[in-house]
């Protein structure tokens, strides 16, 4: 009753190679077929007139062809590989990612918490990656010759204003936020996206978990304190709250410290995450607060007397974001973060410094997937920040307040010429109300796949950041500091191995420089400059040795700058030439245990010795650290975790500090800088209580 027409032909890729198993059908009918071993297809249809032929194959762009049905149709269909496919060229390959996007992930989500020596600190885990410079007595992130302040930390794309806990020299600070809240991180040591501003050296963006877990309660008993957490889930919303109390007093009593603690660190912290799933989007809200205090005494190099140093810190951070799909092509992000930090520092009887920071960061951005080859990302952001300080010493009283606003906007596009060649071009504009200056930062990355598993990319870009408030208090019209990055990256990735090589050149301009007169600064200006170049190497192998997963990071840098009150170009104190990390994790199924070993090495830190000629030309001893961890799964709900840092007890030194005035013999008094604690022991016992007995805190280790 109907005419049956045969439709046949060939399906190939753009190189005319046959595609086997491509599916073809006439839209709205059962008529169709798949291609055979030589890419040929043939099927009959009873359709008439104009129809739509649909061709699809995994990893290729879906194709729709309008067809007039007639006898003897023979087609040659060429399919194009999708640039959105998993093995397409990765345009931000110089960024380290941890997460579930296995296309680019270098670390797995669990790595953040299972790296020996990181003690559950996201920041410490990042320090095992190349490009970072070890400053074990400080704990913050130092990237490619940059000061710690040159690396900005974000949560869900929103700025964190005071990411590190407050400590004192010799005791490293930690990231404030619990690693269990994050599903992944994106860490860039150069050439990052135009979406990020106000960072000269690096970006760490941590993404909180979207998917609520089951209703459960967690209890942690630790050698340093205790914690409880509870998650409640409903249909499309969930709430997690956790609280912990840390007190180092019992620990310091048992394990002697080099520091003379009067009141060892104690602190209370609480966190809450609320997630609400809408039909097309997700609302996430995060609130964290902590208070901490400690007091110690140390000998003054100048007076020889014991001085008391005490710090009390309180901090609040909150962040709310909304992500949603507007249509099939465009997704929206809107968010706001607020931060408040208060420090109260007392030095002896006479010096008291109170400082406060309040900040607000908001961002609105859109991402449009124009087609399989073209993606646009664009948005605006706004930052308000106020730094305030009140210093009192020896009858002298000074109050500073510095409110300011920053407007930013960016546009960025990813264009894929083919699946193997892509270019990212971005432009960022910023305007600061304080200096009344606007800056334009262009950034470009080109990436080319060189083989099935290898790719080469190059990036160039400029970055700006406002100068530290300490200087803005003196002169608020100081221009932002500037850096330019040029980098070349090679990436090789298979199922079992990742190799990354990166070389870079980095130039600093408009750095702060001043003249020191005693303890005051004169002639503050933007006349400083600097440059750095180096090589970063990363190798990760999983299962190349049975049950062992390890990675090796090595960085070499040559860095000099003339800034602050430097009389000449020199390598700053925090910048070490060689850094090496080796991290390994082994699973012993019979013992139900994961053992971790982390080795870190850094060449000696520069320090300035006023008793000798030259400037910053002395070097401290090489830094070594071997950390061990052992996670034992007692049962599905109980885990025992033991770790020790610097297990072999290397006597590390970070250089020398000197008094302000020379002694009677004309020689400046000196003291070697050592960590307050050579080693740190941690024992923790974690229990999960949930309706479902299968759950445990394995995730949390």
């Amino acid at each position: 009753m109907y005419g049956q027409v045969v439709i046949s032909g060939l399906v190939t890729d753009q190189k005319k190679e046959a595609i086997i198993g491509a599916s073809l059908y006439i839209d709205g009918t059962y008529d169709g077929g798949i291609t055979d071993d030589v890419g040929r297809f043939s099927f009959t249809t009873s359709s008439e007139g104009e129809v739509l032929l649909i061709i699809s194959y995994l990893g290729y762009e879906r194709k729709e062809i309008k067809l007039q049905i007639e006898e003897g149709i023979e087609l040659h269909i060429k399919m194009r590989e999708s640039a959105l496919s998993i093995d397409a060229v990765e345009i931000s390959a110089s960024t380290f990612k941890a997460g579930d996007n296995s296309k680019v992930a270098v670390l797995k989500p669990l790595d953040i918490v299972t790296t020996a020596g990181s003690m559950g600190d996201v920041i410490a885990a990042m320090q095992t990656l190349p490009g970072t410079q070890s400053n074990a007595d400080d704990g913050r992130l130092f990237i490619r010759g940059g000061e710690a302040r040159e690396t900005k930390i974000y949560i869900d794309g929103l700025k964190v204003f005071s990411p590190y806990t407050r400590t004192i020299g010799g005791s490293p600070s930690r990231g404030r936020y619990s690693p269990f809240l994050f599903k992944g991180v994106s860490f860039s040591t150069g050439g990052y996206s135009a979406a990020y501003g106000q960072a000269l050296s690096g970006i760490l963006d941590m993404n909180t978990i979207d998917d609520p877990k089951d209703t459960e309660t967690n209890i942690s008993l630790m050698s340093v304190g205790l914690g409880v957490g509870h998650t409640q889930t409903w249909d499309n919303q969930s709430l997690s709250v956790s609280a912990s109390y840390i007190d180092l007093a019992p620990y310091t009593w048992m394990v002697p410290s080099r520091a003379d603690w009067i009141d060892p660190y104690s602190g209370f912290s609480g966190e809450a995450v609320y997630r609400y799933k809408t039909k097309k989007g997700l609302i996430k809200s995060y609130l964290a607060g902590d208070i901490g205090r400690f007091e110690l005494s140390r000998e003054s190099l100048d007076s020889g007397e014991m001085e008391h140093i005490g710090i009390r810190n309180s901090n609040i951070y909150s962040n709310t974001s909304y992500t949603s799909f507007l249509n099939n092509h465009t997704s929206l992000f809107a968010g706001v973060s607020i931060g408040y930090n208060h420090d109260d520092v007392g030095l002896g009887e006479e010096v008291n410094i109170q400082s406060e920071l309040e900040g607000l960061n908001s961002r609105f951005s859109l991402k449009t997937v124009v087609n399989d080859h073209f993606i646009m990302n664009y948005g605006v952001d706004f930052t308000h920040q106020k730094d305030w300080s009140d210093s009192e010493y020896q009858g002298y009283h000074e109050v500073n307040s510095l409110p300011r606003r920053m407007y930013g906007s960016f546009v960025e596009s990813d264009y894929f010429f083919t699946k193997n060649l892509a270019i990212k071009t971005g432009l960022r504009m910023e305007y600061s109300t304080l200096s009344g200056s606007a800056v334009l930062n262009p950034r470009i990355t080109v990436a080319q796949k060189t083989s099935k598993n290898g790719q080469l990319s190059a990036a160039i870009g400029s970055f700006t950041q406002e100068v530290s408030p300490n200087f803005l208090f003196h002169d608020f019209q100081l221009l932002p500091e500037k850096s330019s990055h040029l980098l070349l990256n090679y990436n090789y990735k298979t199922d079992k191995q990742i190799i990354r090589l990166e070389t870079y050149y980095k130039k600093y301009d408009n750095l702060i420089s001043f003249q020191s007169e005693g303890s005051t600064m004169q002639d503050i200006s933007n006349d400083g400059s600097g440059r750095a170049y180096g090589v970063d190497v990363f190798w990760r192998a999983n299962q190349v040795i049975n049950n062992v997963d390890f990675w090796v990071s090595y960085s070499w840098i040559n860095h000099e700058r003339k800034y602050r009150d430097y009389p000449q170009f020199a390598t700053p104190e925090y910048s070490t030439d060689h850094n090496l990390s080796i991290v390994s994790k082994t699973w012993f199924s019979k013992l139900k245990s994961q053992m971790g070993i982390t080795y870190r090495m850094a060449s000696g830190r520069p320090y300035e010795n006023p008793n000798t000629d030259g400037f910053l030309n002395e070097r401290a001893k090489i830094f070594n650290n071997i950390s061990l961890s052992w996670a034992y799964l007692i049962s599905q709900q109980k885990i025992l975790f033991v770790s020790v840092s610097n297990a072999t007890c290397f006597k590390n030194e970070f250089g020398y500090e000197f008094g302000r005035v020379p002694g009677d013999t004309g020689i400046y008094p000196s003291r070697v800088i050592r960590p307050n604690d050579d080693q740190f022991f941690f024992v923790g016992f974690f229990v999960t209580l949930s309706k479902d007995k299968m759950k445990n805190q394995l995730d949390n280790l």
Partner: protein
């Protein structure tokens, strides 16, 4: 006259429905045959074609997804495997739109995420393990008589117990208990899933080996 037209129209309409019914049945039969013959790609394409015509019916897309998830377990190429899982994820979302609160689709979704975890435990274990257990619990809750929901749940829990070296016999016993659910199942819609009894029996017996 009007009556004649009405009768004629009804006849045409009925004929169309019958024709499309039989076309649907023939199509589904053919797809199942292809799958049994081990022609996964053909079977998948056929189920998908039927699915894009029968836009309100969840059954063809369910089977398409099931074919895809089952065949990815045998795929050695990791990139291909990942692409197959990602596509199955999209298809599950589509199936949920066609039939909300469906125990069978929810069970299949649990299997999908199990596929991700099996592919790369380090990357997906932390994120998906709690979700898989939630999905299994939900599937059983939606339809306590769905034997596949039970079987997948028990087998997954058994896997965790094996990892911790716990006693497996309670799981075999549970599996044995649910076998009557397979025997007593009634198909509410034609071609709705009914498979799984052989696997369940195999698992139930595994403790005696």
């Amino acid at each position: 006259m009007n009556k004649i037209i009405l009768v004629f129209a009804l006849a045409v309409l009925t004929a169309t429905i019958v024709k499309s019914q039989s076309q649907y049945e023939a199509g589904m039969q053919k797809a199942f045959t292809l799958w049994q013959e081990g022609k996964d790609t053909e079977a998948l394409a056929m189920f998908e074609r039927i699915g894009q015509v029968e836009k309100d019916n969840w059954v063809p897309i369910y089977h398409a997804t099931n074919v895809l998830i089952s065949s990815q377990f045998n795929e050695k190429d990791m990139v291909k495997k990942n692409e197959m899982l990602d596509k199955a994820k999209e298809m599950i979302a589509e199936a949920h739109l066609r039939s909300e609160h469906n125990s069978e689709i929810t069970t299949l979704e649990g299997l999908l995420y199990t596929g991700y975890v099996a592919m790369d435990p380090g990357t997906f274990g932390m994120k998906y393990s709690p979700m898989i257990m939630q999905l299994h619990a939900k599937a059983v809750e939606l339809d306590p008589n769905n034997p596949r929901a039970w079987a997948n749940k028990i087998e997954y829990e058994m896997g965790s117990a094996r990892f911790f070296g716990s006693d497996l016999t309670p799981f075999c016993a549970q599996m044995k208990e649910i076998i009557p659910k397979f025997e007593n199942q009634k198909l509410e819609v034609p071609f709705a899933p009914s498979y799984g009894i052989e696997r369940a029996k195999q698992v139930a017996e595994s403790c005696n080996e």
